[in-house]
């Protein structure tokens, strides 16, 4: 009986005793309320008329809902909203694909090959995460400017195709994969690239899904760097485009929140689509463990 249960229900979906379930739910609901609060405010503000913005305490359900008018107002104030959305999508896609290639190659190299200076090189890569961007952004901008990349998509995408963070994430994931499968493929005469593509990456689907969600959202929300390098609407990404609504004296928070909400939707959809792979990744890859 015990054995049957163990086989049918994998531990990740284990049945949970009722008291534990209750506690889980209570905790989850409490936490969820805290997590949701700013998001709910964002959505409700997006539908408020200007007069309702200054209420103290904050109202969470607008008395007069003017979602449509605010949507029009947003496009009125930010006529190139769609263009910014497209620029963000292009930048995000470029950076994520770039990182997927450079970082999975490098992570595989660091995880599975021995070469002189390996540990030092890895530590140095990691060390790059330890300096806040504000400390070297001017120097980085000087470099981009010297390359002639000011106000181009190269500036937005190329530096973002390299990542110490993703390198670390994928290396840790690759290190968790049993080496036997790779060794078998090696004996069959596969070269390291083939092994990476056909064995290691498919076995790392959960980590890749996590990588995808995290990298895409970081690129999508990136603000300071695009702001410094982009000077025309042609290269302006969404977070920068929306920041024009934040004035020295006046900020139409309802329009800003409408824009932020629209900008968040693609990320939420992506998360919902990818999150099942954190859970079902292995079975999807079709490899039995």
């Amino acid at each position: 009986m015990m054995q049957k249960a163990a086989r049918d229900i994998p531990p990740s979906y284990e049945r949970v005793p009722i008291p534990l379930q209750v506690i889980s739910y209570v905790l989850l609901f409490l936490g969820a309320a805290i997590m949701l609060l700013p998001f709910v405010w964002m959505v409700s503000t997006a539908c408020k008329p200007p007069q309702e913005l200054t209420r103290i305490p904050v109202t969470f359900i607008p008395e007069n809902q003017v979602c449509r008018a605010n949507l029009d107002g947003l496009y009125d104030r930010v006529p190139l909203f769609n263009r910014y959305l497209l620029n963000s999508a292009l930048t995000t896609a470029g950076r994520t694909l770039g990182q997927l290639i450079t970082c999975s190659l490098a992570a595989y190299g660091f995880a599975r090959f021995k070469f002189p200076g390996r540990n030092i090189l890895f530590a140095l890569c990691l060390a790059l995460l330890m300096v806040p961007l504000q400390a070297f952004i001017i120097q980085e901008f000087i470099l981009i400017n010297d390359l002639g990349w000011r106000d181009t998509f190269y500036a937005l995408i190329v530096p973002g195709t390299f990542s110490a963070f993703a390198l670390f994430l994928l290396r840790q994931a690759f290190l968790q994969i049993p080496i036997e499968l790779e060794e078998a493929a090696m004996i069959d005469g596969a070269n390291p690239l083939q092994i990476l593509i056909y064995i290691t990456l498919p076995l790392s689907v959960p980590a890749l899904a996590a990588f995808g969600v995290i990298t895409v959202q970081a690129a999508w929300n990136d603000f300071l760097w695009p702001l410094i390098v982009s000077y025309s609407p042609e290269t302006r990404v969404l977070p920068v485009g929306l920041s024009f609504l934040i004035g020295q004296r006046n900020t139409p928070f309802n329009l800003l929140m409408m824009g932020s909400f629209l900008g968040t939707l693609p990320m939420l959809i992506l998360f919902i689509l990818l999150q099942r792979y954190f859970i079902e990744g292995i079975s999807m890859s079709g490899v039995k463990r």
Partner: protein, 311 residues
């Protein structure tokens, strides 16, 4: 020449593998050093100069570091940063692991919950800043309402120097937890089922399986998150900005100022003391580097890898 080749391994096979390894890491490593390493080195060089971005840099030897040594604001920022790291890292890791374990169960609505817990990662920073300032607002805030029955309704969360770090810890953990949850969930999935099955056959209970199967198998992910959480906690910036900019950025008397905020204010503040900011960045870097190296050494004792890497 042959001694040079020996560096890459003693047999043709190991040499071949060494070359493959270098080839694989080359694109990312070169890109990283060009686009991040080089500017960072340039910035560190500037810590020996007086420079405000508009003048010609003037070499001042170690003057910036001497100023740091005597600067009470720097000491305060360092203390605040260490306190924040001490509070945030354990809380963040404990909560996100618990959350991942909870949401890895067969619970109704787990997809909805996962999405909700991920929301702070994508919520607009402006929205977050307004709402959190409201939550901790004196008299009208939700926190005041919640604590009123216990007689703590009039706490001045965002202004009182003794309290202001608490809201920052809350917001930091709030913002990061969904991110770590994603990594932990992916890590949990990598725990081979056969191990759990074997443990169950041996009669291990839930806690024993967690302790002796899940935790060791999850340790590479735990190590990843611990390292990243430490590195980023030393650089807490947005959260302080969020929580304190409506009353006073960095708190009254710098009671909430972190090193990276101080660095930013020094470099991009009105006086634009970029050399000084670079000196702060360098010290911050050395501290984080030291701690990360300790973590890398310590991991050999507690992190379990399926295979010894590269052997």
């Amino acid at each position: 020449m042959s001694s040079f080749l020996n560096l890459f391994g003693k047999t043709p096979l190991t040499r071949r593998r060494a070359l493959w390894g270098l080839l694989l890491i080359a694109p990312n490593t070169i890109g990283l050093f060009l686009f991040f390493g080089w500017p960072i080195l340039q910035s560190f060089r500037l810590s020996f100069y007086e420079w405000n971005a508009f003048n010609t840099p003037r070499f001042v030897d170690i003057e910036n570091f001497q100023r740091l040594y005597d600067d009470p604001m720097f000491r305060k920022a360092l203390t605040n940063t260490l306190k924040l790291v001490g509070f945030v890292v354990p809380l963040e890791m404990g909560l996100s692991l618990s959350l991942a374990l909870l949401l890895n169960q067969r619970l109704r609505g787990r997809i909805l919950f996962r999405t909700i817990y991920f929301l702070p990662v994508v919520t607009s920073t402006v929205a977050a800043s307004i709402v959190w300032a409201f939550v901790f607002q004196r008299r009208y805030g939700l926190m005041a309402a919640a604590l009123e029955p216990f007689g703590y309704g009039d706490l001045n969360w965002l202004v009182d120097p003794d309290l202001v770090l608490f809201p920052i810890v809350v917001v930091t953990v709030w913002q990061r937890i969904g991110f770590d949850m994603v990594l932990f969930l992916a890590g949990l999935q990598n725990v081979p089922r056969v191990l759990h099955e074997a443990a169950m056959i041996d009669g291990a209970n839930r806690w024993q399986r967690f302790r002796h199967v899940t935790l060791p198998m999850l340790s590479p992910t735990t190590f990843l998150i611990l390292t990243l959480a430490t590195i980023s906690s030393f650089q807490i910036f947005d959260q302080v900005y969020i929580m304190t900019s409506r009353t006073i950025r960095g708190g009254v008397g710098g009671s909430a100022r972190t090193l990276s905020l101080y660095l930013y204010e020094s470099g991009f503040g009105q006086s634009s003391d970029y050399g000084y900011a670079s000196a702060i960045a360098f010290i911050l870097f050395m501290i984080i580097l030291g701690i990360t190296i300790l973590q890398l050494i310590a991991q050999r004792r507690w992190v379990y890898y399926e295979t010894e890497s590269g052997e």
